[in-house]
Symmetry: C2
Subunit: 317 residues, 2 copies
Amino acid sequence: MSKGQVIALSGGVGGAKLALGLSRLGLGDDLLIVTNVGDDFEHLGLNICPDIDSVVYALAGLNDQVKGWGRADEGWRFMAALEELGGENWFNLGDRDLAMHVLRTQALARGESLTQVTRTITRQLGIAANVLPMTDDPVRTMVQTADGPLAFQHYFVRDQCAPVVSGFEFEGIAQARPQADFMAALKNPGLRAVIITPSNPFVSIEPILRLPGVRDALAAAPAPIIAVSPIVAGLAIKGPAAKMMTELGMPSTALAVAEHYEGLIDGFVLDETDADLADDVDSLDMRALLAQTVMLSLEDRDGLADYVIAAVDELAV
Amino acid sequence: MSKGQVIALSGGVGGAKLALGLSRLGLGDDLLIVTNVGDDFEHLGLNICPDIDSVVYALAGLNDQVKGWGRADEGWRFMAALEELGGENWFNLGDRDLAMHVLRTQALARGESLTQVTRTITRQLGIAANVLPMTDDPVRTMVQTADGPLAFQHYFVRDQCAPVVSGFEFEGIAQARPQADFMAALKNPGLRAVIITPSNPFVSIEPILRLPGVRDALAAAPAPIIAVSPIVAGLAIKGPAAKMMTELGMPSTALAVAEHYEGLIDGFVLDETDADLADDVDSLDMRALLAQTVMLSLEDRDGLADYVIAAVDELAV
């Protein structure tokens, strides 16, 4: 019998690693991976959803584990030809990856929702988990920087996260409706857990939390909420989280992430190397949990997923 | 000093070969290559213009000379991924070739005309000749077959020209305005020649001739009009022209092509192997001309272009 639905909130690469581990627990479609769309953008006329694609590629085993992003056995002939033809080439679109963007753009253009498109693709790829965009409405993360506001991918990819960050704005968030299955699961008495994956708290998780009604639904949810720290020993495993924290005037520590999530979560998973922060985390309104959070191998992903689901079930008792 | 404008009417591969030869005569932008758009179609949300692309790739030296279509050093990762994702995969889109379709689709979507898009791309690729779509308006060739009407690419690529052809319809032709530079050149007193390349008379050249005003302008044009036979020794060099002729109830001979163009052209270039047809062609209202028309090598393309331009200048005297 099902033990209930498990919701994982995810951004791209870091979240996708834990999402893969969770997907291997045999939860089937009781696992809802709610994915940030604030990083989505339109480029060369294509609808690109980097976080959804990172999750889908990871769950389908199509991701490049060496490079850490995109697809395995990727080719770059499209990019070479694009450059030759004078097209915008600051965002790398692999030859295989393009198929996803072209199919999605075509489906959205004929009126399908991002949820429908994503479901069609995940089923085609044999993915049992429900990969859900946080909303079918457009939300676009703008990064406020010393150089002025930047669309997220301009900040992240084109400008390589160099500009100093002072804040974020999520355009369209006030009008965006949270994805219906996500909201239904939050309100389902059989909800087992909400897991905040170790994605960037500010640009991957925050847009999901800011959707109208989501914070209230999380506060009322009948299941434990647990977050995994994306910061280990003061460093971000990947991406600009630590740099952003410093620029935003907070220490780049797992403790500061825990404080950021205070009032929302019941448990916070620290890496074992940050064991010295456990007491401070415990003094917040949450339980500190220690685990090996750096996911290099598939075993690491499985191990952290096992740990997190066991911790959640223990918190629920 | 310029000897005047030369207009070449072209379809895809066969026309592109002669267009390349003509482009190497040093005519610069006095060479107008007016290209069929009846084969154009929308596929996977992309605007695909096979004849324009064949001409552009040939003139830029990017075409695959072994395969005879598409780009050299092409890759097929996009198609493999498309199949994996369950996308429509009957039309092969190479990884490099995709850059053209994506850029064109984006430019058309933001309101540029096909003429503008094509000009931007040809300039970027260093092509001196003017490659002009026959019209900026949509014209779509429908092939009437024993299996019912088929969109051209469904007939040509998906069904491999297997259905028996009974006729053609050019949807949108009555409303389509011939490209303005093309019409201006036809009316220019300094026009030097109109060359009908050895492309398919029915599906590549006919749509151009059927554009409102084009036949009248050709009849009134102050320069010789010469066609090169696409049929040699009863066979089509490439494509379904000979098969179509048989199915349409005419002999698949160069003479039948000459008859098809009677009243329009002043000279008809037969392959030397068809020398026995020269008297019959001469008895039509046109001059029979003999040349080596099969273009295997670059020298062949140059040789035929040299021959045709000399023949045209002689006809003009």
